[in-house]
C-alpha cells in the first residue's frame, strides 16, 4: 500500500516536470529571495530543484534514487547538515533491497553479482571480528601495570569501595559509573578495604584487576562500535577500517580505557547510543518491526546510562533528540502516512526515548540511595531531613518534638550547601571590625556552641521550661529572641558594617544573661506559609528578619580570617531578595515538655531526594572553579593535543604513564575537520547553484553530507559546550568528541580518495589509488602507535630530553611532559 502511494508521488513529480515557468506551477519559485526559517519547508523550490536534476539525468534508476533520497517532496532542506540525511525507502524490504543495490551500484564501478554480495558480508564480519580482537588485545595488554593508584583512580576506586561498604558519599557525577565499578569490584572479590588514599599508593594484595578489567572491557567495545557506526553511515568497509585503526592506535583512548575511571564507561554508553540510533534509523523502512523496536529501546537505555555516568551524557541526548525531531518532521510531511501512523511513530519515540530512559535513570538513583544507607563523608552536603535516612548519623531514628515552642533549645542550619549551623563563641570581634561584641558565625560541625534558646522578645523573667507554664508554640510572624545557650548572649544586629561584606550589617552576640536591647528582636517567618501557623522542625524554611533595621539574617559564605577561626561570616543583609543564604531550618530541637515524634515521618519522598541530590551535584559542579594564577587546560588546547595529563610518575625513576593522544591520529583528525568543512561547503554551494553532479559523485557526496554531517554534529555537540563552562576543565573531557572526530576522518578520507580516484577514467587505476591511500593511512597510524605506545603502556628510565630515552626525539611539542 505504502509502496503504491510512493510510486504515485513519484509519478506526480514526474508529471510536474515539464511545467513551464509560469502560472502557479512550482517552477515559478525557482528564484527565491524570501526569507525562510531553517527547517521551514520550501516545497515548491524543492520540487523545482528535484525536477531540474531529474530532467538532467535520463536514467530511470537515477530517478528512483532521487525519489528515494528526497522523498517526500516537501523534505525540509534547512541549513543544518543533520537534515540532509540518508533516507532509505519506506516501501518495504523488497524495495529497500533494490535501493541498497542501486546505491552499491552507484558506488562500485560494476554491479556486484549476488555471490560477491554474500562474500562481502562475510568479509565485513571477518573484519569486525579482527577489529574487536585487536581492540581487546591492545586494551588488555599490560593491564595490571602499574600496580599502584593512577590519577583519578583514587576517587573512583574509593567510591567503588563506598558502594561495597554501603557508606554514603557525595560526588558531582551521577552514580551509575561508580556503582558499576563497585559491582565489578564486588564480583571480582575486592572487599572494599583498600583506602585509595592518593595516587602512587601500592595496591599490594588488594584485588584491583576486576575493576580495571571491567573498565578496559567497556573501553574495548568503543572500537567495534565506531567500526559499525561508520560502516552503517558510509556503507564502506575501508572507511570503517580506517576509523577502527585510528581509535585502536590512539594512545589516548588506550590509556583512558585502562584505569578505574568513569570515562570508558561514559564513552561506552555514548557510542552504544549512537550505534543503536544509527541502526534504528537504518531500520526505518520497516517501522514497528522487532529489530526496529529493539534498537529504539536500546537507544533509550544507552542514553539513560550515559547520563547516569556523567552529565556529559546530555550531549548525546541532544544529538539523538535533534535526530528524532528531524525524523518525525520527515514522517509528518509524508502525506502518504495517515496522521494516526504519525501519531504511532511519535508515541513510540516518546515511550522509548523519553519515558524509558527517565524511568531507568530514576531507577539508578533509587538503587544508589538504597545501597548507600550508612552515614559517611557525604552527609554534611545534604539537608537535615536527608541525613535522617542514614544509619550512623545522629539524626537517624532520632525522635524530637515536631513543632517549635518557646523555651526549646535548637540548632539552626543554613539551607545553602556547606554553610553549616548558626554558631557563636566566647570571642569578640577584633578592634576596628564593627562593634567589639561577641562573634556570630556559621560552623559546619556539630558543637555545643551551635545551641540556641528561643525566647519571647518581651519576657525573660519566668523560666519557660517551668512545668507550671503552658507550652506556647512559636508561630509564623512572631517576634522572638535567640539566646546563645553557652554564653547567654542574644543574637543581635546593628548599623555597623559586616566584617567582610561591606554592604551588609554586622551580627553579634550581645547582652548579659539574656538581657539586651531592642536590637535583639527578630521576626521569624516561614517561607511561603500563612501567618499564624506553627513552625515545623526540619521541614519549615524560616527567615529571621531584624526588627529595627529590617534586614535578614544570612551567611555570606565567606571565610573569616584567623580571628574568626576560619568559620564563615554571618551578616544581616538589607536586600530582601530570597536566596538560600538567608533561609534556615531548625535541626535539633530539645524541649522536655513536648512529645517526641519519630523523624521517619519527616523523611523526604523519593522525588524530593532526587531533586535534592541533583541540586547538590549541580552546585558542586559549579563550585569547581579554577584559580586565577594557575595554568588550566583550555578547550582550544585539546584538539591540537597541546598537553597531556600525568597519570602516574614524574621523575625518571618512576613508572610513568602519560595520557596524550597519538599526535599523528589527532592532527590527522584536525586536518580532516578543516578539510571536511571546506569540501562540504563547496559541495553544498555547488548544489545550491544547481551544479549537476555525475551519478557516482552524487552518491559519494550524499555519504559525505549525511553520514559525515551526523558525526560532525556529534563532534560539535561534544566539544563546543565546554567553551561555555565555568568549571575547571581537563584534557580528558575531549575524548568523547575525539571519537566522533575519528569517525569523521574515516568517512572523509574514504570518500575523498574515491573522489580523487574518480578522476582517472580507468577503474583499475582508481581502485589502486584508493587502496594505496587507505593502506598508507592505516600503516601510518600503526607505525605512529609503535612509536608512541610507551606513553600508554608505561615508561621507565630517562625523560625524553635525554637522548638515551626510548622517547627521545618524539617530544614534538615543548608542552608535552614525558
Amino acid at each position: 500500500m505504502l509502496c503504491a502511494s510512493g510510486r504515485l508521488l513519484a509519478a506526480r513529480t514526474a508529471t510536474s516536470l515539464p511545467a513551464p515557468p509560469r502560472g502557479r506551477g512550482p517552477a515559478l519559485r525557482c528564484p527565491r529571495r524570501e526569507l525562510h526559517f531553517p527547517g521551514n519547508p520550501d516545497p515548491p523550490s524543492w520540487d523545482c530543484l528535484a525536477g531540474r536534476l531529474t530532467r538532467a539525468s535520463a536514467s530511470p534508476h537515477r530517478r528512483v534514487i532521487l525519489r528515494r533520497g528526497r522523498m517526500p517532496p516537501a523534505v525540509g532542506r534547512g541549513l543544518a547538515g543533520s537534515e540532509l540525511r540518508l533516507r532509505r525507502s519506506r516501501c518495504g524490504p523488497r524495495a529497500a533491497g533494490r535501493d541498497v543495490a542501486i546505491q552499491a551500484a552507484a558506488r562500485s564501478p560494476k554491479r556486484p553479482a549476488p555471490g560477491s554480495w554474500r562474500f562481502e558480508v562475510a568479509g565485513r564480519r571477518a573484519m569486525l571480528a579482527l577489529v574487536t580482537l585487536l581492540s581487546f588485545a591492545t586494551r588488555f595488554h599490560r593491564l595490571d601495570q602499574p600496580r599502584h593508584i593512577c590519577w583519578d583512580e583514587t576517587h573512583f576506586g574509593k567510591m567503588g569501595s563506598y558502594y561495597i561498604n554501603r557508606t554514603f558519599f557525595f560526588d558531582v557525577h551521577p552514580p551509575l559509573g561508580k556503582m558499576l565499578i563497585g559491582l565489578a569490584g564486588y564480583l571480582s572479590g575486592y572487599d572494599g578495604t583498600f583506602l585509595f588514599q592518593k595516587p602512587g599508593d601500592k595496591y599490594e594484595h588488594h584485588s584491583y584487576m576486576g575493576m580495571r578489567g571491567f573498565c578496559a572491557f567497556l573501553g574495548s567495545w568503543l572500537v567495534p562500535f565506531a567500526f559499525l557506526i561508520v560502516l552503517d553511515l558510509s556503507n564502506s568497509l575501508p572507511a570503517a577500517l580506517l576509523t577502527a585503526a585510528l581509535l585502536t592506535f590512539d594512545t589516548g583512548c588506550l590509556t583512558l580505557s585502562q584505569y578505574i575511571l568513569l570515562d570508558p564507561i561514559l564513552m561506552f554508553f555514548i557510542m552504544a547510543a549512537m550505534l543503536s540510533m544509527v541502526k534504528y534509523r537504518s531500520c526505518a523502512n520497516r517501522p514497528f518491526s522487532a529489530p526496529w523496536w529493539s534498537w529504539l529501546s536500546l537507544t533509550g537505555i544507552s542514553l539513560a546510562c550515559a547520563l547516569g555516568v556523567k552529565f556529559v551524557g546530555l550531549f548525546i541526548i541532544l544529538q539523538v533528540g535533534l535526530n528524532t525531531i528531524a525524523d518525525l518532521w520527515h514522517l509528518f510531511g509524508d502525506l502518504s502516512l495517515s496522521l494516526v501512523t504519525v501519531g504511532k511513530h511519535l508515541m513510540a519515540r516518546v515511550l522509548c526515548l523519553i519515558i524509558l530512559p527517565l524511568v531507568l535513570y530514576m531507577a539508578i538513583f533509587a538503587v544508589h540511595i538504597m545501597v548507600l544507607n550508612k552515614s559517611g563523608p557525604g552527609d554534611g552536603f545534604f539537608s537535615s531531613a536527608f541525613q535522617a535516612r542514614l544509619s550512623g548519623n545522629n539524626l537517624h531514628n532520632a525522635s524530637i518534638p515536631e513543632h517549635l515552642a518557646y523555651g526549646s533549645v535548637i540548632t539552626v542550619k543554613n539551607l545553602r550547601m556547606a554553610i553549616g549551623y548558626l554558631h557563636s563563641h566566647r570571642h569578640l570581634y577584633p578592634e576596628g571590625i564593627g562593634a567589639r561584641q561577641q562573634q556570630v558565625t556559621t560552623y559546619l560541625h556539630k558543637d555545643y556552641n551551635n545551641l540556641w534558646i528561643i525566647k519571647k522578645h518581651n519576657t525573660n523573667s519566668a523560666d519557660p521550661l517551668d512545668p507550671s507554664f503552658p507550652v506556647e508554640f512559636v508561630r509564623h510572624g512572631d517576634i522572638i529572641r535567640l539566646e546563645h545557650k553557652e554564653t547567654s548572649r542574644n543574637l543581635h544586629s546593628h548599623y555597623h558594617e559586616a566584617p567582610l561584606t561591606r554592604k551588609h550589617y554586622q551580627v553579634t552576640g550581645y547582652g548579659t544573661n539574656g538581657t539586651g536591647d531592642s536590637n535583639d528582636f527578630w521576626r521569624i517567618e516561614v517561607v511561603n506559609r500563612k501567618f499564624g501557623n506553627r513552625i515545623k522542625v526540619l521541614r519549615s524554611r524560616i527567615r529571621l528578619i531584624h526588627l529595627v533595621t529590617g534586614c535578614v539574617l544570612g551567611s555570606s559564605g565567606k571565610v573569616l580570617p584567623k580571628w574568626g577561626w576560619e568559620q564563615l561570616e554571618v551578616t544581616c543583609t538589607p536586600y530582601l531578595k530570597q536566596t538560600l543564604n538567608s533561609i534556615w531550618n531548625v535541626e535539633d530541637h530539645i524541649n522536655p515538655k513536648l512529645p517526641n515524634i519519630s523523624l521517619d515521618v519527616l523523611q523526604p519522598s523519593f522525588p524530593e531526594i532526587l531533586l535534592e541530590s541533583h541540586m547538590v551535584m549541580i552546585r558542586g559542579n559549579n563550585g569547581l572553579k579554577p584559580k586565577d594564577n594557575d595554568f588550566t587546560s583550555k578547550p582550544w588546547h585539546w584538539p591540537i593535543n597541546y598537553q597531556g595529563l600525568r597519570f602516574s610518575g614524574a621523575n625518571d625513576t618512576d613508572f610513568r604513564v602519560y595520557l596524550l593522544g597519538n599526535p599523528v591520529v589527532w592532527w590527522l583528525n584536525l586536518v580532516s575537520i578543516a578539510l571536511y568543512l571546506l569540501l562540504g561547503s563547496i559541495i553544498v554551494v555547488a548544489m545550491q547553484r544547481g551544479a549537476q553532479l555525475p551519478t557516482k559523485v552524487e552518491g559519494l557526496t550524499r555519504v559525505l553530507l549525511q553520514g559525515g554531517g551526523q558525526v560532525l554534529l556529534g563532534w560539535m555537540l561534544h566539544y563546543f559546550p565546554f567553551f561555555l563552562m565555568g568549571r575547571i576543565l581537563y584534557f580528558h573531557h575531549y575524548f568523547p568528541a575525539m571519537l566522533f572526530s575519528s569517525m569523521l576522518t574515516g568517512i572523509l578520507w574514504d570518500t575523498l580518495l574515491r573522489l580523487c580516484a574518480w578522476g582517472p577514467a580507468s577503474s583499475s587505476l582508481a581502485r589502486a589509488v584508493h587502496a594505496v591511500g587507505i593502506l598508507s593511512l592505516l600503516l601510518g597510524a600503526a607505525y605512529s602507535f609503535y612509536l608512541f605506545h610507551p606513553l600508554a603502556y608505561g615508561m621507565v628510565g630517562p625523560l625524553a630530553q635525554d637522548p638515551r630515552s626510548p622517547m627521545a626525539g618524539l617530544r614534538w611539542l615543548e608542552s608535552w611532559e614525558f
Binding site: C30, H36, F37, P41, G333, R689, S815
Partner: protein, 725 residues
C-alpha cells in the same frame, strides 16, 4: 549642457505627515522638561564620572561596555560646554551650575524620540498597514519605562535606537534588492545596516545580539541568492562581496575606530593605570611615563630594575624583598629556611629595586659600553637595599606547599648552599639572541638547579609577611602562564659599587628623556582584553532582579527621590502593554507552529506572500526579542530591569502585527471584525490610561500623597518610596 537648462529644476518630495507627527510627539514626550530634575539620577552617577574623564582626557577603564556609548554621552557634554568639574559621588546630588544637564541628556532623549517614527517605518517596510504601523509607534511612545530611560543620561535608548535602525535599514535594503540591486539607495541602506550594527555593539556588548540577528537573516537571504539560477556566478559573487564588506568589514572597522578615538582622546594617566601593563601606562601622559621616559632600553649587567608581574592578579605588584625573614616554623608545623622573605608588593617602594648581576664578575655597575643581557643568559638578581641574592631551593613555599620557597639567601653557615643562578627566558622574543628590553620584554626566570620558574602564586601571606603576595618557584610548570612572566618597569644603569652610595642612588628618582609608544593595535587588544576579563567585585544591589521577573514586571527600580517632597522617578513599565506584548509573543509562536505543521501536511491557510511576510516579521521581532532576552539567563552578572528594554522594543513591534493578523485572517465575519476593532480600541485606551496614571513616576514632576503612591503600588514587589511624614 543646454538640454539641462531647458528643463525646469523640480524637487518633488513626499512628506508622510504621520512620520512628522510621530516625530513631533516623540520629541515632545522625551524632551519635555528635560533638565528636571537638576540632580544626579540613578546610573547617571556611574556614566557621569566617565564623562568627566573624557572632558579631562584622563584614561579610565570601564568593563561594562565598549566606549562608543560613553563617547556619545561625552559628546553631549562637549556640546554643552561641560568642563568635567563635578563630583559624581551619590545619587540625588544637586548639579552645580557648570553642568549642562540639558545638553548631557539631549542625545539619549533624541535617540528615544526618533525610535518612535522608526518603529512606524519598520512596520511599513514589513508590508503591514499604516494603521498597524501607527499602533506600533504609539506603543513605543507611551511605554513608561522607555520614556524614563530615554530622558536620562543612560545608554539604553541609544542602544534601542541603533538596534531599530539596523533592522530598518536592512529591511529597506532588502526591499530595494528585488528591483534595484546595486543602486544608490541599495548601497546606502546596506552600508547603514553595517554602521548601525557597529554602533549598537559599540554602545553595549549586548548590541551583538541584534547584530547576530541581522547577520542571520542576511545569511539566509544570501543563501537564497546563491540558489537563484537566473543570476550569473559573477553577479552572485558581487552580491556576496557587497554584503561581506558592509556587514562584516565595516562593523569591525568602525568598532576599531571607536577605540581609536577613545584612546586618542584619553591620553592622560588616571586612576585605572595600575590595571594596565607597564607598556600601556608608559604610553599615557604623566603617571608612569614621567618616570620611564628616557630610561635605557636594553637591560645590561649592572642595571637596576623593578620587576612587575605581568598577570598582576589579584593585584598588580612588583617583586619585593625586605629584611624580615620567613618564620622558622609556620602555624601548621612545617618548617621554612628562615631566610629573607621575597614577596610581591602592590605599591612602589625602594625595596622593589633589584640589580642584574653577571655571576662571573663581582661588580654591580654597568660597564662601558654596557653589556646587554640576552635570552638564555644566566644572571643573578641582587636585592638593592640588602645586597642579598634571589634564591630558591627545595623547601616548600609558605602557602603553596607544592611549589618551592623563594628567598633572598642568608648564609647561616649551615649546609644549605646558595642556589641563586637564574636563566633568563624572554617569552615574547623575536629571535634566540634577543636582548632584554625595558617594559617591552616579558621574561621568565628559570632556576638553574631545579628548573623551577619564578611565579606569583596569588595568595596573601599572613601577618608575618605583612599581607603581601606570595612568590614561589613553580616546579611542575604545567604550561606557560602569565603569572610566571615579569617585565622591567623602572630601569637605570647602576653607577656606584658601594652599598651606601647605591642606596642613595636607589632613593633618587630615575632620569627622564624619550618616549616609546605602543602601536594602536597593541593598545586596543590589551584594553579590550582587560575590559573583558576584569572582574568587578561581587556587586549586590538592592534593585537587582532576575530575567524571569522582567516579563511579568515583578520588579522596579527607584531612580530618584526629591529631597523634600515625595516626587520621584521610578523605572516601571506600563503593565498593560507588557502583559499584552508577552501575550502577543506567545500567540505568534503558537500560530506560527500551527501554520507550520499544517503546511507540512499540505494545508495552506495563508496565501504564500502573506505567509512569507508573516515569517519575516516574526523572525525579526520575535527573534529580536528572544535574542535580546534569553541570553540573560546564562549570565552571572548583576542584572536590572532596564536590561530588558531592548527586548521589549522588539516585542512592542510585534504586538500590532499580531493584532492585524488576527483581524485579517482569524476574524471571519464582519461582526467579528467590528467587535475585534472595538476591543483593540478599548485595550489601547486602557493602556493610555495606565500610562497616564504612572506618569508622575515617569517624569517625577509632581509630588503625590502617600495615599496616591500606595494606590499606585499595584504589585507588592514594586518598591515605591513613600516618605514618612
Amino acid at each position: 549642457m543646454l538640454e539641462v537648462l531647458k528643463r525646469p529644476v523640480v524637487v518633488t518630495t513626499n512628506i508622510n505627515l504621520n512620520i512628522v507627527a510621530l516625530t513631533g510627539v516623540g520629541l515632545l514626550s522625551r524632551l519635555w522638561h528635560l533638565s528636571y530634575p537638576r540632580a544626579v539620577v540613578f546610573d547617571e552617577v556611574y556614566y557621569g564620572q566617565y564623562i568627566s574623564f573624557y572632558m579631562n582626557r584622563v584614561f579610565f577603564l570601564d568593563d561594562s561596555g565598549p566606549p562608543f556609548g560613553h563617547m556619545l554621552l561625552a559628546l553631549g557634554g562637549y556640546l554643552g560646554g561641560f568642563d568635567g568639574n563635578f563630583l559624581w559621588n551619590r545619587i540625588g546630588a544637586e548639579y552645580t551650575s557648570n553642568v549642562p544637564v540639558w545638553a548631557l541628556r539631549l542625545l539619549p532623549a533624541l535617540a528615544g524620540a526618533l525610535s518612535v517614527p522608526m518603529a512606524y517605518q519598520i512596520v511599513v517596510e514589513l508590508r503591514f498597514s499604516h494603521c498597524t504601523a501607527m499602533g506600533a509607534a504609539l506603543l513605543l511612545l507611551i511605554e513608561n519605562a522607555l520614556v524614563t530611560q530615554s530622558r536620562l543620561m543612560l545608554l539604553e535608548s541609544p542602544l534601542i535606537f541603533f538596534n531599530l535602525l539596523a533592522v530598518l535599514s536592512y529591511l529597506k535594503f532588502f526591499n530595494c534588492q528585488k528591483h534595484r540591486p546595486f543602486s544608490l539607495p541599495w548601497w546606502f541602506w546596506l552600508m547603514l545596516t553595517g554602521v548601525a550594527c557597529a554602533c549598537a555593539v559599540g554602545i553595549k556588548y549586548m548590541g551583538i545580539f541584534t547584530y547576530l540577528l541581522v547577520l542571520g537573516v542576511a545569511a539566509v537571504h544570501a543563501w537564497h541568492l546563491i540558489g537563484d539560477q537566473t543570476l550569473s556566478n559573477v553577479l552572485v559573487l558581487y552580491h556576496l562581496l557587497a554584503r561581506a564588506v558592509a556587514l562584516l568589514v565595516t562593523p569591525v572597522t568602525l568598532y576599531l575606530l571607536f577605540f581609536y578615538i577613545h584612546l586618542t582622546l584619553l591620553c592622560r594617566s588616571g586612576p585605572h593605570d595600575q590595571i594596565m601593563s607597564s607598556a600601556f601606562q608608559a604610553s599615557l601622559e604623566g603617571g608612569l611615563a614621567r618616570i620611564t621616559q628616557g630610561q635605557p632600553l636594553e637591560v645590561a649587567f649592572g642595571s637596576q630594575v623593578t620587576l612587575r608581574n605581568i598577570f598582576g592578579k589579584p593585584l598588580p605588584c612588583w617583586l619585593h624583598s625586605h629584611q624580615n625573614t620567613y618564620p622558622i616554623i609556620y602555624e601548621n608545623g612545617r618548617g621554612s629556611s628562615h631566610q629573607q622573605q621575597v614577596t610581591c608588593y602592590p605599591f612602589k617602594d625602594v625595596n622593589n629595586w633589584w640589580v642584574v648581576k653577571d655571576p662571573g664578575r663581582h661588580q654591580l655597575v654597568v660597564s662601558n659600553p654596557p653589556r646587554p643581557v640576552r635570552h638564555g643568559d644566566v644572571v643573578q638578581l641582587v636585592h638593592g637595599m640588602t645586597t642579598r641574592f634571589l634564591n630558591t631551593h627545595d623547601v616548600a613555599a609558605p602557602l603553596s606547599s607544592h611549589a618551592q620557597e623563594v628567598s633572598c639567601y642568608v648564609d647561616y653557615n649551615i649546609s644549605v648552599p646558595a642556589q641563586n643562578l637564574w636563566r633568563l627566558d624572554i617569552v615574547n622574543r623575536q629571535s634566540d639572541r634577543d636582548t632584554w628590553k625595558t617594559i617591552l620584554s616579558a621574561v621568565r626566570f628559570v632556576h638553574l638547579n631545579t628548573s623551577a620558574v619564578l611565579k606569583l602564586s596569588g595568595a596573601h601571606l599572613p601577618d608575618w609577611g605583612f599581607r603581601q603576595l606570595e612568590v614561589v618557584g613553580e616546579k611542575l610548570s604545567r604550561g606557560h602562564h602569565e603569572s610566571m612572566a615579569w617585565n622591567v618597569e623602572e630601569h637605570r644603569y647602576g653607577t656606584s659599587q658601594e652599598q651606601r652610595d647605591r642606596e642613595l642612588e636607589l632613593h633618587a628618582p630615575t632620569q627622564v628623556d624619550v618616549s616609546r609608544n605602543l602601536s594602536f593595535m597593541a593598545r586596543f587588544s590589551e584594553l579590550q582584553w582587560r575590559m573583558l576579563t576584569l572582574r568587578g567585585e561581587d556587586a549586590e544591589h538592592k534593585y537587582s532582579s532576575t530575567p524571569l521577573e522582567w516579563v511579568t514586571l515583578d520588579t522596579s527600580i527607584a531612580y530618584w527621590l526629591h529631597p523634600r517632597t515625595s516626587a520621584q522617578i521610578h523605572l516601571v513599565g506600563n503593565i498593560v502593554i507588557w502583559a499584552s506584548a508577552s501575550l502577543a509573543t506567545a500567540t505568534y509562536v503558537l500560530l506560527f507552529l500551527w501554520y507550520l505543521l499544517r503546511r507540512r501536511r499540505d494545508v495552506h491557510d495563508l496565501p504564500e506572500d502573506v505567509w512569507l511576510h508573516w515569517v519575516l516579521a516574526g523572525t525579526l521581532c520575535t527573534g529580536g526579542w528572544a535574542l535580546n532576552y534569553l541570553p540573560f539567563f546564562l549570565m552571572e552578572k548583576t542584572l536590572f530591569l532596564y536590561h530588558y528594554l531592548p527586548a521589549l522594543a522588539f516585542q512592542l513591534l510585534l504586538l500590532p502585527l499580531v493584532l492585524q493578523h488576527v483581524y485579517d485572517h482569524l476574524c471571519r465575519s464582519r461582526v467579528q471584525r467590528h467587535l475585534f476593532s472595538t476591543l483593540v480600541v478599548a485595550w489601547y485606551s486602557v493602556a493610555c490610561h495606565v500610562s497616564n496614571k504612572l506618569r508622575p513616576l515617569t517624569y517625577g514632576d509632581s509630588s503625590l500623597t502617600p495615599g496616591e503612591l500606595l494606590a499606585l503600588r499595584w504589585r507588592d514587589s514594586w518598591d515605591i518610596l513613600i516618605r514618612k511624614s
